[in-house]
Symmetry: C2
Subunit: 394 residues, 2 copies
């Protein structure tokens, strides 16, 4: 699929491994309105610091991204390496340096191999093609086992408007945000204020609703570039129906990519939605859902396909939220195995266990204490998670 | 070792498994001043609810404890089962029912097998002996691989005063508190207010400073019984030097048992102390130490014997505490491998890796921003943790 005005390219630059796509470039023929959401960590990688600075102008025209090195905890040299990378791209594309954003993922604390990037720059620029998005999505993978993309086309004001999103992430995944990179490209015409609002709302309902291991990284970013090439009527008001179409589409892309990330969680064999309802307030429901979704004991029980609701209720108990334990119902799929805080017996548990043998399922927790409702997506916690993270240097 | 006035007993009652010690009794010839600290979970097991009620009087004379069943999430029947257990003990010992405490550990959500306890009651009472503490310590084990006890003798006001502590715990371990039971017996003569204060302070500096997996249980309790049989001068004032001796001894027992718990963490191969200094305030140091100590990615790197300081600094970054990333020093043992937020290179990292191959070591984090200092003890996170918790129904 083509997004008008955008092209991209990916090469194997040998940043960490030989013969593996590890350097990508996204380019828009015209400057694009650009919004971003970044890691909430106190420790921010050089590309995050640079992009946050550059995004104050609300515009960009290119993103250069590498895997294999996070360029985090690299001090002044790291910032200079990020700057140098954007300088090379700007010169090659003959665009202002300030319109080039940079993004990195990989090992923390190692210097970025700028020489390798420089050597590959010619090939990277030559490779620019409107049909290359999938290759860039592969170039940003680290412990990901599959590349993650999402496409949408909608009509806005009589014009066809296209969207594409790509993401990477499989470990160090917790709101806010996951250890993830996500780039969303659209030819929609939208002003900065609306783009920024739409992105923040979309991220809140998608990437901030997943967890793999409760860890957060130094490099997380979600960028959205809207270059206006679709020439739809300007979206410059969030009460405009066109804004709603835009926002819904952006959120649906983010939600698809978020679920792909959690399904590809390091070592994951199952994708589990924790839905909490009947809370006093939404934020209470969210806190309980997050605590259950992050519990190692709950997640290892999912891996063991054990309908161990005792661990779920124990995790709820330490969430910091007040609730009535003797009102709690818990269901796995459509099998209610806890009523009013007590188990429904071994026969029901056996039926619940069959739900656990599925690849994806939902755990519903009803507190029967109000109308607050939220859900969080998580994965199980397997022997392979430990193996991957004991062996891999991230 | 003997604690004057105390005797104990343990039997294999067949509560969950056959031929395994799973029921214990601790008895004091005279009522003992008693203080307790209990799980902070919203979901409290029946024995916790009952003991909290009974401890309002500040006295007890016996503890009956079982493993194999937590008697948690068992509703009114569970409370009745706990009551029935204490009733049997009170009748057999001819002491008031209100002076009998009860404690359980094991699977959540299953009914307590009171019949099995009843059948074993005669043997349990007959077995009471001053030298049986080690057997009770074995009877409270679940996934523990070793039983955990600690003994001290000190002089208070010219009298010899003895202490013994026993604990169980290896998973679901996080402040406040761990999934743990701990009973401390002493023949010291001390009033309730001082005993209660000494226990709370000791727990804060010991059991609330360890973590295995960040989970908290429904059944945690630490009880201390002081029966006064040593006939030392009453300790009834916390400015009394005798109080300090008592408090130091209690804290040293709790610290020893806490370290034994973390060393026996489920699947653990290493015991790691995370020490944070140079923070603005102690509570900031504590928050950072806890976040690092609970990070799955940090703990899997310890298991992999990888001096992956990037994961440590990433965990610090999400702790919620403000600090200067470019001031941070990190040392493994005496090897400083990060200075001012940047790595000291592969040669230093190689030396740090040799520290990681040891069974126990300390990670020192210096924020260089104040005098705040705290430490937390954790273990590594192994393939066996997942196997144990995927297979074991806790």
């Amino acid at each position: 699929m083509i997004i008008k005005g955008f092209s991209s390219s990916a090469v194997a630059a040998g940043i960490k491994y030989a013969d593996r796509l590890d350097l990508g470039l996204i380019y828009s023929e015209m400057p694009a309105v650009t919004a971003g959401v970044f890691t909430t960590s106190q420790v921010k990688a050089a590309p995050v610091l640079l992009d946050q600075q550059r995004l104050k102008q609300g515009r960009s025209q290119a993103i250069v991204v590498n895997s294999g090195c996070a360029n985090a905890c690299t001090g002044a040299e790291g910032l200079e390496a990020a700057l140098e990378t954007t300088r090379m791209v700007a010169q090659s594309l003959a665009i202002p340096e300030e319109l080039v954003l940079v993004s990195s993922t990989g090992v923390i604390g190692l210097p970025l191999n700028v020489k390798a990037i420089e050597k590959s720059m010619g090939k990277l620029i030559d490779g620019l093609d409107p049909a290359n998005f999938e290759e860039v999505a592969r170039a940003i993978m680290t412990t990901d086992t599959i590349s993650k993309t999402s496409y949408r086309t909608v009509e806005i004001g009589g014009n066809e408007v296209s969207f594409m999103g790509m993401a990477k992430g499989s470990g160090m995944i917790m709101p806010n945000m996951a250890t993830m990179l996500c780039f969303i490209l659209t030819d929609a015409r939208i002003s900065f204020t609306e783009l920024n609002k739409a992105l923040k709302d979309a991220v809140e309902q998608s990437f901030n609703r997943i967890t793999v291991d409760g860890d957060t990284s130094t490099n997380d970013m979600v960028l959205v570039l809207a270059n206006g090439a679709a020439e739809n009527p300007w979206i410059d008001n969030d009460s405009n129906p066109d804004y709603q179409v835009f926002q819904d589409t952006l959120e649906s892309i983010c939600a698809e990519l978020a679920l792909k990330i959690v399904s590809d969680g390091e070592g994951a064999t199952k994708c589990v939605t924790i839905r909490v309802c009947g809370a006093k307030e939404d934020k209470d429901a969210e806190m309980i859902a997050r605590t259950v979704a992050n519990s190692n004991l709950v997640k290892t029980a999912f891996f063991g396909e054990d309908a161990n609701w005792g661990r779920i209720i124990a995790a709820m108990g330490r969430s910091g939220v007040r609730f009535y334990p003797d009102r709690v119902d818990i269901a796995f799929g459509d099998v209610v195995l806890v009523r009013n805080g007590q188990g429904c017996g071994p026969e029901v548990e056996e039926r619940a266990s069959s739900i656990l043998r599925e690849r994806a399922f939902t755990v519903c927790i009803d507190l029967k204490d109000g109308a607050g409702c939220e859900e969080v997506h998580t994965c199980d916690f397997s022997v392979d998670y430990v193996k991957i993270n004991a062996d891999y240097r991230s």
